[in-house]
């Protein structure tokens, strides 16, 4: 009945996967090997991916995950 509520479009799903795998999960600071120059995550006009790249850049700059989250303005749990 509510099948249309769950998104099955490829683009949206792809973005959601990439947002999670790049921006979330357990982080081993200092062991991330991603270089922004090497990554070909090209999504025109999509803020989510831009934020992922920014996060990676900040981590590469030596900021701790907590500092990166503070800069990203994460909201508290409710």
């Amino acid at each position: 009945m509510y099948d249309n509520v769950i998104d099955r479009s490829r683009d949206m799903s792809l973005l959601e996967v990439l947002d999670r795998v790049l921006n979330k999960g357990v982080i081993l600071v200092g062991d991330l090997v991603i270089s922004v120059a090497d990554i070909d995550l090209v999504y025109v006009g999509v803020k989510l991916m831009l934020s992922s790249v920014e996060t990676m850049e900040q981590l590469k700059d030596g900021k701790t995950p907590a500092e990166v989250e503070k800069l990203a303005g994460k909201t508290p749990e409710i």
Binding site: V5, I6, D31, V33, D40, L41
Partner: protein
């Protein structure tokens, strides 16, 4: 060979089955996965030369695919893409040092799914709609006393009231979503006005058997607010609910 870590999992009841289950799942380069364990916690790893690791979209998706596959069998905490350690001993030490933190996080997400919800809407159109359905009273100003300054202030005040109405509209939607989530005892994080078109951006952690209940709740909201678009994604492994600082 370096150790590429995909996930940390809880292995309290299936110790004997872990390696057997992992043998049926391929890593990002089709190589075998292996488990490095400490107590009831295990790291799912693959052997990989760090220098050969291509950080591109296809590999990131494959990495997520492996985590998804392992999550079908175990409660886990996903590792962020590109997490390497040099040796099995390093992984083992990392598990030992962080055992309690991992265990607490794993117990929190046990038998639960993550869902994402984005509510899309054109904020300008919604503001116009709100303005049309409930007009803001214009203050009648005597032309003689209407200075440029007063006109400017009135214009700003009016824009502010329209903005307030949009925020109040978003607050109402968030309150309704939160009400449903409270009934499900879900953990959630909700951001309002994530962008001009994303009115609400939320992630929820719900019990696995509540999936249909959540879908129906969001479906009801979609019916109630046809002018905006509710997009639910999931179920996901609990990417957004990992709260651990590794030692």
């Amino acid at each position: 060979m370096d150790k590429l870590i995909y996930a940390i999992l809880l292995n309290k009841s299936k110790t004997d089955n872990l390696q057997q289950t992992l043998s049926g799942i391929e890593g990002i380069d089709k190589s075998a996965l292996n488990a490095i364990s400490f107590g009831t916690i295990s790291a799912v790893c693959g052997n990989f030369n760090k220098s050969d690791f291509a950080a591109n979209q296809a590999v990131a998706l494959a990495f997520a695919g492996v985590i998804d596959e392992v999550a079908k069998h175990f409660t886990l905490l996903p590792m962020r893409f590109g997490s390497f350690m040099k040796t099995s001993e390093d992984v083992s030490k990392m598990l030992e040092k962080n055992h309690d933190g991992f265990l607490q996080n794993l117990e929190k997400v046990e038998n639960k799914f993550e869902f994402g919800l984005k509510v899309f809407g054109d904020s300008t159109k919604i503001q116009e709609h709100l303005k049309a359905t409930n007009p803001i009273e214009e203050k009648v100003v005597d032309e003689n006393e209407a200075s440029k300054f007063k006109s400017y202030v009135n214009k700003k005040l009016r824009a502010h009231r329209i903005e307030e109405r949009l925020l109040s509209f978003v607050d109402t939607i968030v309150a309704e979503i939160t009400l449903y989530l409270k009934q499900m005892e879900a953990t959630s994080r909700i951001q309002k006005m994530a962008s001009e078109s994303i009115l609400v951006d939320g992630v929820f952690l719900i019990k696995k058997n509540q999936q249909q209940q959540l879908v129906e709740a969001i479906g009801d909201l979609q019916k109630q607010y046809p002018e905006i678009k509710f997009v639910l994604t999931g179920p996901w492994p609990p990417y957004s609910f990992v709260e651990i600082k590794l030692k």
